[in-house]
């Protein structure tokens, strides 16, 4: 028999993360179709006020404890395991984010349930839960069936509309009590200690506030080529940003990174040069006003989110483009 669905509410510094609403929205749909309750759980320190925002769920379980400031994945898995067993939960959705990384695999290991990462879609067909997981950086999708509708699923951010998970309705809130807490061998589980937040390095510019962004990826090939792109940025009055590989190479500072670990940007123009468009990058730029992309690979996923695409070597395009923009401005 199918049990309830549980959404792990994700929050950072007292703010509910969008992924929580995404999961509540799709979770509601699944729960209604399967005719099972939808529950959500909030674990943390000083987080009780968050629960009232989760009205799409039938009930919200809250464990608010001073020791739960940024709990480790071990502690989260231990607490969730107890809750899942007590409430006979069948299906658990967890955010596929950096904050929640590791909880899903640990929980699946402890509960002996299957785990699916990178989930982009979830549905019910013939009373059976199916899902689509992305593989190989989004180049391949895989449809998977969960045995007995039981499992732990990590939901890729940006896969579902967050609005479907928002409601003014007040959920029934159940404060979890200490017996649950004490059943966890905390001494064993708190080996990982959260020390402090490290604030974003203050960059020379804030890329989230720019109207025009020129973004570079692996295709830039080496650091010397950045000068040419800078020339374009100057001509357009825009700023330079990049995908992960460029930042990891140390060619641009962390403050210029667009994507999952970096910034989410919505400029009027996003001109991407030599970026393939891995999902982690697309997540941070897909809502830009006008997206123009240059890439040598005609099948690059970046063309799927761009308004205009140019299948060419960026070095064949750049000099002419700079020249033309300069000429146009001086006309």
């Amino acid at each position: 028999m199918q049990g309830p669905i549980l959404i792990l509410a994700e929050h950072l510094r007292g703010e509910i993360a969008d992924i929580t609403y995404e999961m509540l929205g799709v979770g509601r749909k699944l729960a209604d179709e399967l005719k099972v309750p939808l529950h959500s759980v909030v674990l943390g320190k000083d987080i009780a006020p968050i629960a009232s925002h989760l009205g799409v769920a039938d009930s919200v379980f809250v464990l608010d404890h001073p020791q739960l400031d940024m709990p480790s994945s071990e502690v989260m898995a231990a607490l969730l395991k107890t809750l899942i067993e007590q409430k006979h939960i069948s299906l658990v959705l967890i955010g596929g984010t950096n904050v929640s990384t590791g909880i899903g695999p640990k929980l699946s290991y402890r509960l002996n349930l299957p785990f699916v990462n990178f989930c982009r879609n979830l549905w019910v067909k013939d009373a059976s839960v199916g899902l689509t997981s992305q593989l190989f950086g989004g180049k391949i999708l895989s449809d998977v069936r969960l045995p007995d509708n039981r499992g732990v699923v990590s939901v890729y951010p940006g896969s579902f509309p967050p609005d479907a998970g928002k409601s003014d309705r007040k959920p029934s809130i159940e404060m979890l009590d200490l017996p649950l807490w004490e059943s966890i061998p905390l001494g064993e589980e708190t080996k990982v200690i959260f020390k402090q937040y490290l604030e974003p390095e203050a960059g020379d510019i804030d890329i989230t506030k720019q109207d025009i962004l020129i973004s570079i990826g692996r295709g830039i090939a080496n650091a010397d080529n950045i000068a040419l792109v800078n020339e374009l940025a100057d001509a357009l009055g825009g700023a330079l940003c990049a995908s992960r590989p460029v930042i990891d190479q140390g060619w641009l500072p962390l403050s210029r990174q667009v994507g999952k670990s970096g910034m989410t940007v919505k400029p009027k123009l996003y001109l991407s040069l030599g970026i393939s468009g891995a999902p982690e990058h697309v997540e941070g730029m897909k809502d830009s006003g006008l997206i123009i992309s240059v890439n040598t690979d005609p099948n690059a996923p970046i063309f799927g989110v761009s308004h205009y695409g140019i299948c060419a070597d960026l070095f064949d395009i750049l000099p002419t483009l700079i020249e033309e923009i300069k000429a146009h401005k001086s006309e």
């Binding site: 695999p105 785990f115 999708l141 989110v305 923009i325 401005k329």
Partner: protein, 262 residues
């Protein structure tokens, strides 16, 4: 300190990926394998730690095409031991890989002890579970942090202080005792380059050890119904022609939207 880096070969996604006849797996005939990107960073971080704090670096990888070259390159970069786990590991999934890696310690005259620090790429792109490190931490009963971009040790070398990425440039600092398992997102410096000549010379002087491990039996219970190539939604309008035609069109698009001001 014994730093152990588990490396994994994955298909190079720059190449076109072809789905096999069963519709449920990739056609391996067309795959070009490369080292998983985050694993390359895990190796770099291991060598950086060895340079700072001493100790040894052991790299371990499952048998796969091109793996010998990757292991020799790791030795050229500064690893002390390179180990290949022979077998046909096609289609092996993260939980089973973790079990395999855990069994390495019992069969490789390398103790899993309070001196052990395990580094693995935070994610791999080629299986449904996608994360080996947390499974391995569970099996070994060791603490774990993922998405790590920096590591240091305390004075006694008993604890690690690690930096983990959250989002929007925000990071967190965590402390955990050894032994530990860390999922590496990026090394604090870009992976070093080693000249081919140095790799060639290591190939002559060093050797890759093999350690026999038995294939773990883990049934995930998941049934893959099909693999497919995603249809691009909202596909871009492609601009074609010689560079001058393309750039003229770009300038036109930008001017229409008031994005170029005279």
């Amino acid at each position: 300190m014994d730093i152990v880096v588990f490396l994994k070969m994955v298909p190079d996604v720059v190449e076109e990926l072809v789905i096999g006849e069963d519709g449920k797996s990739l056609d391996t005939q067309w795959l070009r394998m490369k080292l998983n990107d985050p694993d390359e960073h895990a190796l770099e971080e291991a060598v950086i730690l060895k340079e700072k704090y001493g100790g040894t670096v052991t790299v371990v990888a499952m048998e796969a095409p091109e793996v010998e070259e990757v292991l020799f390159t790791a030795l050229a970069k500064g690893a002390d031991r390179a180990v290949r786990l022979p077998g046909d590991w096609t289609g092996i999934q993260a939980p089973a890989i973790a079990k395999l890696f855990a069994s390495f310690f019992s069969s490789a005259n390398l103790q899993f002890s309070s001196e052990t620090l395990i580094l693995i790429g935070s994610q791999a792109i080629d299986d449904l579970e996608g994360e080996v490190a947390p499974y391995l931490a569970e099996i070994l009963g060791a603490p774990y942090v993922g998405v790590v971009t920096g590591i240091r040790l305390d004075e006694e070398k008993k604890k690690t202080i690690v930096m983990k990425e959250f989002a929007g440039g925000l990071r967190g600092e965590f402390e955990l005792p050894l032994p530990a398992v860390l999922g590496i997102q990026a090394a604090e410096k870009p992976p070093r380059y080693v000249p081919v000549a140095k790799v060639r010379s290591i190939m002559k002087s060093a050797r890759i050890e093999t350690v026999d491990v038995s294939p773990p039996e883990i049934v995930s219970g998941l049934s893959v119904e099909r693999l497919f190539i995603p249809e691009a939604t909202g596909k871009a309008e492609m601009l074609e022609g010689p560079p001058e035609t393309i750039t003229a069109k770009i300038v036109e698009l930008l001017t229409e939207r008031g994005l170029i001001r005279r």
